[in-house]
Symmetry: D2
Subunit: 294 residues, 4 copies
């Protein structure tokens, strides 16, 4: 297939590379052009403008937030203006449900198709083409996009015909991860203040009941206090909890744990934590408990 | 070794049976005598009084809460009064840290040894001798008790010389599980109100990021709304969160997520949920969100 | 002064009447024209369009929310398009700080002046001209508007040169009232479940430490369970907490109590409470506690 | 009446003095004997032992917590052992409901009468005999004690025949005050971070909607950051929230705002705030928001 790919961050880079490997004809676009060089070396065409990435069967966006996606979708030379009727915009970014609904409507008005296909997995997983894809869209749209999703991920879960439901599932997944971070942060502050080794404690947890990698990954970051460089920045974590709460507000679902996480992120950002890994909220309990080297 | 075993509930039954299989000489005691019959058939002696279970090298207690343990430890004919000097009381119950400290002091005054050895695992794991044991006590006490711990569990983690630290680790583990339940309850209420299938959602979670069995086990109970019969009763969950908060108060560690769980359990019990599985707190978010069949 | 007044709800009606009494020349506009009749009888001109209310020295808006204000301010025939340079838009609505900033900028670009002047007080207080006004704007703008503010309120507090600060103070005031409601709801659920009379309890509170009218007013509503008709609707309360949290997010200030209130309002709305008085969140604690007639 | 008075702290001193002024025959006891000197000068007899204060018609206790009351009530030479049958123990301390129930039962077993009569008011109010008394006990007991309550307070509210209900009302009142402190702390952090003066803000609040003295008193302490010397120590505030939560747990009433306050007090104590005024929890929001001079 002939596909545009917009957004060559740490995730997008690997995803685009896997599309190339699978034999698709890829035109990449990135605001900072230099990031396109490695992909050009692998055979990608490089677009100077968004419009140039919208000439094929589909265009995939993998950007930081609603604002960034909005910037390439709307306006002169944007995706809505340039994509041919019937072509598909596949949005893999973690965006809000209300904005996803807006994209759905805009593409429908323009005779284009829209598929929300957010992904689970960190950059190294994206590089291996082993992401999990959560897809929301019309059945024929999903079917048409499947070869692309298969190139980027190990499995696709089709969740709903409404794109925004896929975005909701993605947001809720990040909420669940943040909940793991908070619970570990509280538990580790508790045992550490009693004098128990955080590392030994974590070993007990992860070799018994909490064998999922998220416990190991984030527990180690908290135990080590190693929040730089960020694998996933606190500002992005804060954004995702905000979007989760916004979706919950629209649906009228109280989420007290998400509200707690919201305040944790704000406290972290209020103390200059923008560029720390989002797991740094897991150090706040120890700080509140008066532990020195937390 | 010659050992007494007090408390033949669903956990204790399997633990005592594994001690017998390992060749130890076991005298069992249970308030309701009838529960001792299966173990008698496997070769255990049956004690009519607590004192009769305190004639050997060690006595193991596996009871529901602080009050039950207190009832067999103190007073005439209790463990402190009857255990010989140098013998070991191994407490595997999930008890509070303050009470654990009290037991430590009482046994020390009586010239006896005390080992806190709470366990992770549900009844079916106990039956297989595959529990994880978290031990706190003097090194020589741990060493002397090791053959018994090995008979009941697949691995022992020695956490501290202070018994109460082992109890703290156990309590914090139950807090972490309750946190998983709450986070799943909120996330599932959110996606369910949007119309997403709870079962499909759970399948996505457990086949991607949340592969630990606790997510599968408790997520399924919440998705099915299947809280009876209780694998672990809500009253016990409430007790463990209370003991976690009590330990945190003594150590001066704020635990906002544990506080949230406390209120969840009280709301559940206020509506007659005493005998439901503790995962029933995971249905409260859906109820708050106005979902009918949650 | 020659003044337009837009928004003749329960608050605006009394405010406009007091402007007339003070001798100002008032042109009123309301989406539902019929509401203007009583004011016409008192001497007001009635505008058929927003533009007709923008021909004088100032125009005052008193509307339900950001969206309603936006609807009369922007677009063809809106306030920005029609108000003469140098004239003042006085916004008395309870709006968000971000939106207030947007209004400030829009009027500045059009050469007009903008004053945020939200008010404290219920409709009966507005009718008496006894409101408290919190003003934010340039000193000369405040000075020019003072005769109008004096006609509507008993006192003006000039808080800042930035209009949005006045809106923040207003929002925070509503947050404080909602906090009173929540605290009363919890305390009354607690003593009521012990069997203490809610009315006697309230009498004790309000005749000793909690003599402020808010305790009496809202405590009585909760004790009586009398939430209809709404003095201030739950949807408006939810909106104000949302705007408070939005302002706090922009400023990076964690507000755990406001987060709790957010969830209370969502739970109320999820159960059909849109048209109840906002004090109905004060009945949720009793409901959680399993009290029947709460 | 012939009355013993035990506990000459800042509150008890004034209460005992007013009993003397009213013409009662008072025997005072205090652990630190020196504190009795001013009262001896006013005509009180000074007891060297608790027992000597238990020879009359009634004995009043005004002590810091359950433990202190327990210390003078139980054991050889304690109130239960020494008070004559039919005489009354009036407990004015802020104690827990479970402990109040224990006192009720102990005195009943000994043929004595028990009245819970906790008070609202700070030391300067106690000195003027203007306290508010909340009484719980049998009607004839209340009647018999009334002359004493009248000497100490301006009004008595008889809440229930069960003494512990009076203690619950007192605890809930302290919870409501702490809720005011928390809400002010959050609101002031919010407006202060926007640049609004905390003192001006407080003036607006207290001259409009929040005219109750608690807002003025605690708001000023927070705005000034003046938490020493403590009018009411943080450790006592923490104790009262703990007892409120304990009563709520027994009654199965979720209290999320009280849970939040619990964590605030623990965070304060974890940072060495034991001797600060309890309103110091109102500075924690500003600290979390990253405000420097909070």
């Amino acid at each position: 297939m002939k596909v545009g790919f917009i957004g060559l961050g740490r995730m997008g880079e690997g995803m685009a590379a896997n599309l190339l490997k699978a034999g698709h004809e890829i035109t990449v676009y990135n605001r900072t052009l230099a990031k396109a060089a490695p992909l050009a070396a692998q055979g990608a065409k490089v677009a100077a403008k968004v419009a140039e990435a919208c000439q094929g069967d589909a265009v995939i966006t993998m950007l930081a937030n609603d604002e960034a996606v909005s910037g390439v979708v709307f306006g002169d030379g944007g995706i809505v203006a340039c994509l041919r009727p019937g072509a598909i915009h596949i949005s893999s970014s973690t965006i809000g449900t209300a904005f996803s609904g807006k994209l759905t409507a805009a593409h429908a008005s323009a005779g284009q198709r829209f598929l929300a296909a957010p992904v689970f997995g960190r950059p190294e997983v994206a590089a291996k083409g082993q992401l999990f894809v959560v897809a929301g869209g019309e059945p024929d749209t999903v079917k048409a996009a499947q070869p692309l999703l298969d190139a980027m991920g190990q499995k696709t879960f089709v969740i709903s015909q409404a794109p925004k439901d896929a975005n909701l599932v993605k947001l809720s997944g990040n909420f669940l991860i943040a909940a793991v971070i908070e619970s570990l942060g509280e538990a580790m502050a508790l045992v550490a203040k009693a004098g128990v080794s955080k590392h030994q404690y974590l070993e007990i947890l992860t070799s018994t009941l909490f064998t999922a990698p998220v416990y190991k990954t984030y527990g180690t970051l908290i135990a080590d206090g190693a929040f730089e460089p960020a694998g996933f920045a606190a500002t992005l974590g804060q954004k995702d909890i905000r979007l989760t709460l916004a979706a919950a507000e629209e649906l009228r679902v109280p989420l007290p744990l998400a509200s707690l996480l919201r305040d944790r992120f704000l406290a972290l950002l209020a103390h200059g934590g923008d560029n720390l890994d989002w797991s740094a909220i897991g150090a706040l309990s120890a700080k509140e408990a008066g532990l020195d080297n937390a």
